[in-house]
Amino acid sequence: MDIPSSLTSKIPVMSSSTGANTNQNDPIQHPLEATAQAIRGAVSGEGRAPRQAHLGSSNEGPADIIAKVSGAVQGGIRQDDSPYFTNNEGIPWPDAEHSKTIGGIPVASDVFLLQKQQTFNRSKNLERMVHPSGSGAFGYFETTHDVTGLTKANFLSSVGEKTPIFVRFSTVTPGREYADEARNPRGFAIKFYTMEGNYDIVGLNFPVFFCRDPIQGPDVIRSQWRNPKNFLFDYDAIFDLLACTPEGNHAGLMFFSDHGTPQGWRFNHGYGCHTFKWVNAEGKFVYIKYHFIAEHGQKQFTQQEATQMCGEDPDFSKRDLWETIEKGQELIWKAHVQVMQPEDADPEKLGFDPFDVTKVWPRKQFPMQEFGRLVLNKNPENYHRDVEQAAFSPGSMVPGIEDSPDPLLQFRMFFYRDAQYHRIGVNLHQIPVNCPFMSKSFAPLNFDGQMRVDANHAGNKQYAPNSFAHKFRPDTAEAPYQVSDNVMSRKSHYWHEGKKND
């Protein structure tokens, strides 16, 4: 179905200058789109007038905020310029050091004292169950090679297209404030703010994972958590899980190698780990694996160096990323895919299971094909808002990119969002870093919930179908694929299971 131009570009986005982290609204890259946006803003009365004050960003929506923070829009007022401090109701705050008292004793009617303490008492979010310790940066993804024969993904549709991104790096199992150089895999999560919605790749610095069946996911993580009896590191558990899980020992080998103590977030390659589909405009698909190769190379600490760094600078990885970008250096990862035709994706033909996340695809047989580059060049502006509340989901895929029969991927597509609805809430899309600010259309059919502050229904009916608006996209229905059988059971479909080559 062709999309009428009247349905696209609902959110006016300011044009970028040449230094901006996107060119998708730039008159040079997309002249018609940029002109249409500018005219619509001018005639609709929705163009934002010059603001008199920062107002704590409360007169900006999440899309305005993240457009600036991501570097897609430059300039603007970004820091408090108010003439005096206030409480949350905008009432002038009398003094920094003196509570209201009777005879020197604090009173419950001191609303400034109470609001300050009550906010403080509630100021930490629930910690992520996995990947709690991390930091990130913004930048852009640039398509460098024509892959339109393989995928119809909008952000990959032409060479030179620049899409804003946010990347969050992390350790996996240690707690939020544990030392960065702990022995662990590193999370490598990318959010692409594309014109057909936010696309997340939620990967690692390892190309493989410790388990392949989702029912073992919590076991893998808990085996690396602390002993429930005494809260000490539980070495028995780490090794016992690996001793009892043959397929986990490729990731285990990487865990115990110096890849478990890389030099910061920077000197890592990133991997999508799972197998995904790329679907082209004709509905034909291939299977792919993502590789993000650090232009600056991989570097690891030895165990001694990592242990020393844990004490010398527990924030080493976070500091290294922050300071590198503050110095104006760009960090670049070249994006590659391995490609497999669906007819070949059969372990009986290949001798390995291409959908088993504990295995890799041989590069000689499936060569790396470059298609773009990730560039990080801008630090977040507020850690709690931009990093702590960032929410990535393997299920957040855009048209042209789809799932594969990988069972762990299938379940991750559900449970990351579930974890975030618990940690942040169902309206996490209103947090700027999660807002699909580049999307051509944004009209969610999910309503209400705690702290819903955007347009919510925006005049749409809360049921569908209805007689008033019918704007679905049948053209984006997923490419059908046929699986190997139609029997429901607990029977294993892992080809390597019970084989020596597992």
């Binding site: 022995r183 590191f233 070495y235 028995d236 780490i238 090794f239 016992d240 690996l242 001793a243 009892c244 899980t245 043959p246 020992n249 490729h250 285990g252 080998l253 115990f256 190698s257 110096d258 478990g260 589909k277 034909k284 698909f285 299977y287 030895t302 165990q303 669906p342 007819e343 994706a345 059969d346 372990p347 009986e348 299971d353 959908f355 088993d356 594969s404 029969p405 990988d406 069972p407 229905a477 490419a479 059908p480 694929y481 046929q482 699986v483 190997s484 059988d485 607990r490 029977k491 294993s492 479909h493 892992y494 080809w495 299971e497 019970g498 084989k499 020596k500 597992d502």
Partner: protein, 93 residues
Amino acid sequence: MTEEERQNTIKNTVNMLKFVHVEVIQKKYLAQVYNIGVDYAKGIYDGLPKKSFEWSEVEKLAPDAHLWYKEAKFRPSQGERLTGVPPTGTVYN
């Protein structure tokens, strides 16, 4: 993996495996590693500061290590596997 990387991996593993209190966990873990590389497993075994079992016990365990906890009832046996191919006919109208 270079020789230095290999030796570091062995050393790093020893440094954590030595904290394991339960002998059978050490043995079973080494049996899994044996199936990746005998030299790698032997290197870890040799590096352990205290050994309460013989290397031959690891060798004895390794041949079946890939079957542990893979319940026979659920193992693939009739060609079950993960595939995803385009359907032979059209699906959408």
